[in-house]
């Protein structure tokens, strides 16, 4: 019995033209029963939560679209989008550098990753926030006290938001670099031979052949990164930036409705991660093209005549 329990989709549609023997599909009565029990349990739990007065659903609803909450959610999205974009771009560069035959480039990349993965993100954020204490003035100049071009005060140039973006982006780049390096490593070595034999140099080979194939392996962990970034942005509350969670915290600090406001924030986080997962699936399908063969083969005639060339 056991080996039949894996559904074999290939056998589900026997060709209509052949004399068909009636097929009795394997039934799963136990599965059905368990599912029914689980649905019942879930409904009862949902009911309990819904009628439990102490959740204060009225408060949840009244704050769900509060301007501060919406603004906080907007800021969370901004932080996520900018930090992730910079992180991915810089991470790709670092990954390629790390794999480079040039020892200078690979050492720079290795050190960067070592440093930014090895220190806590919280410390990095506070460091950028307090950069003015270390370097009051930001300037381009010659080393050892030579003439310099003063850009301005560090406090002005690096605002709290700037510090948050710097901290999140630079930290993310280190993680993305390792993910992308793994993706590049997953591409068959024959692809390099083929691309080189066609006259491609290193840059073209990466952009046109290797990276698009690495995407398939890079996407799932990147999806993870985006989602943990979305929630990780809550760390920036230490820089007094009112992201989604911080906005909720400010409100419940005043009205003591801690749980309802955390529910409000969680609902928004859930909504955002749901949307992100949807796009992740779409992207995975896009970059899986040519790798998952099944959808197309079914459209072709099953017996393709073997054309022989004379």
């Amino acid at each position: 019995m056991q080996q039949h329990s894996i559904p074999d989709t290939r056998k589900q549609a026997p060709p209509a033209s052949e004399d068909s023997i009636p097929v009795v599909r394997l039934r799963h009565p136990v599965r059905l029963a368990i599912a029914a029990v689980l649905i019942l349990l879930a409904l009862s739990a949902a009911w309990d939560v819904a009628v439990n007065q102490r959740y204060h659903w009225d408060v949840v609803i009244s704050y769900l679209f509060a301007p501060q909450i919406i603004a906080g959610a907007g800021l969370t999205i901004l932080l996520t989008v900018v930090s992730m974009s910079v992180g991915i771009a810089l991470g790709t560069l670092l990954a390629v550098m790390r794999l480079s035959a040039n020892p200078i480039l690979s050492t720079i990349s290795r050190s960067y990753i070592w440093f930014f993965r090895g220190t806590p993100l919280l410390v990095q954020l506070i460091f950028w926030y307090n950069i003015a204490a270390l370097y009051p003035v930001i300037a381009f100049g010659l080393p050892f006290g030579g003439p310099s071009l003063i850009l301005g005060s560090a406090n002005v140039l690096i605002s709290p938001l700037g510090a948050a973006l710097l901290g999140l982006s630079l930290n993310e780049a280190a993680y993305m670099a390792e993910i992308i390096r793994g993706g590049i490593g997953s591409v068959d070595k024959g692809q390099y031979d083929a691309a080189r034999a066609l006259g491609m140099d290193g840059g073209k080979l990466m952009r046109r052949v290797i990276l698009p194939q690495a995407m398939r392996v890079v996407l799932p962990p990147t999806g993870n990164q985006v989602i943990s970034m979305l929630k990780g942005t809550a760390l920036v509350s230490v820089l007094a930036i009112s992201d989604l969670l911080y906005s909720a915290q400010i409100i419940y600090a005043n009205n003591y409705q801690t749980i309802p406001l955390l529910i409000v924030a969680s609902l928004w986080y859930l909504l955002m991660t749901t949307i992100l997962s949807f796009f992740q699936t779409k992207l995975e399908r896009r970059y899986g093209r040519g790798f998952d063969v099944a959808p197309r083969r079914t459209r072709q005639q099953k017996a393709q005549p073997k054309t022989r060339t004379a």
């Binding site: 068959d188 083929a194 034999a197 073209k204």
Partner: protein, 254 residues
């Protein structure tokens, strides 16, 4: 001087401390077909990859179309080429691999069009028209929009040949092009290669298909342990081998 398409003079190549090629001397005439045969580990694939500079030659000289491969000679010294120069010099030779190495994320047509458009910078519509002609020539005119993995091994290898031809190479290198194929698919690939040879393409083929070597090649080169043991017209090398090692190899394969 009647310059050869490929001329190897004492070509040596080591991986670490193992010497794979121990001084290869070889001439491939323009418009001729050369088959490299020999037991595995004999260095034939490495030599083929040297011709395209996928492997760096350690010592000796290797000329393709009268140009030194991988180096520039100036003032009696050999200077290693920069990557971009090497890439350009590879345009002389098209290469077909044992495991096809088509780009799986591109359709068949995109595979063929890729290098002419992005390396040579030629207009896409012009190249696409040529690609279609090439596909017809390898008998796969209707498969342009398929992805490589939807095709059989034989079909993929014919696409790989078309992809290499799209760069209009002067020389085609084949690295065991039929070794990864199911037996019934070998014929279709060999047929394409035969028609290519008949059209006058210079070809260097590493192969175990002795029938093909006998029928199509102008020169058969038997390699063993990093040296050319015996070379000459197929009737000689395959029909009445002079060297003991050749005889031993042929008796095992035939």
């Amino acid at each position: 001087m009647n310059a050869a398409m490929v001329e190897a003079q004492g070509v040596r190549k080591s991986f670490g401390s193992t010497e794979i090629l121990k001084g290869i001397d070889l001439r491939v005439e323009r418009g001729s077909v050369t088959c490299l045969i020999g037991p595995s580990g004999s260095g034939k694939t490495t030599f083929l990859r040297c011709i395209n500079h996928l492997e760096k030659v350690d010592a000796g000289r290797l000329y393709v179309d009268e140009h030194l491969v991988g180096y520039t000679e100036r003032h009696g010294r050999l200077y290693e080429m920069k990557e971009r120069q090497t890439a350009r010099s590879r345009l002389n030779a098209g290469m077909v691999f044992q495991r096809f190495n088509l780009f799986p994320h591109m359709t068949v047509l995109e595979n063929i069009v890729e290098a002419p458009v992005h390396v040579l910078g030629r207009p896409r519509n012009e190249v696409t028209a040529e690609a279609q002609t090439l596909l017809d020539r390898v008998g796969l005119g209707d498969r342009g929009h398929s992805y490589p993995q939807e095709l059989s091994g034989g079909q993929q290898q014919r696409i790989a040949i078309a992809r290499a031809l799209a760069m209009k190479p002067k020389l085609m290198l084949f690295d065991e092009p039929t070794s990864a194929l199911d037996p019934e698919l070998v014929g279709e690939v060999l047929d394409v290669m035969k028609s290519l040879a008949e059209a006058g393409m210079t070809m260097v083929v590493v192969t175990h298909e002795l029938g093909f070597a006998r029928q199509v090649s102008d020169q058969v080169v038997f390699m063993d342990q990093g040296v050319v043991v015996e070379s000459g017209p197929p009737a000689g090398v395959l029909g009445s081998p002079r060297h003991e090692r050749t005889q031993a190899f042929l008796s095992k394969v035939l």
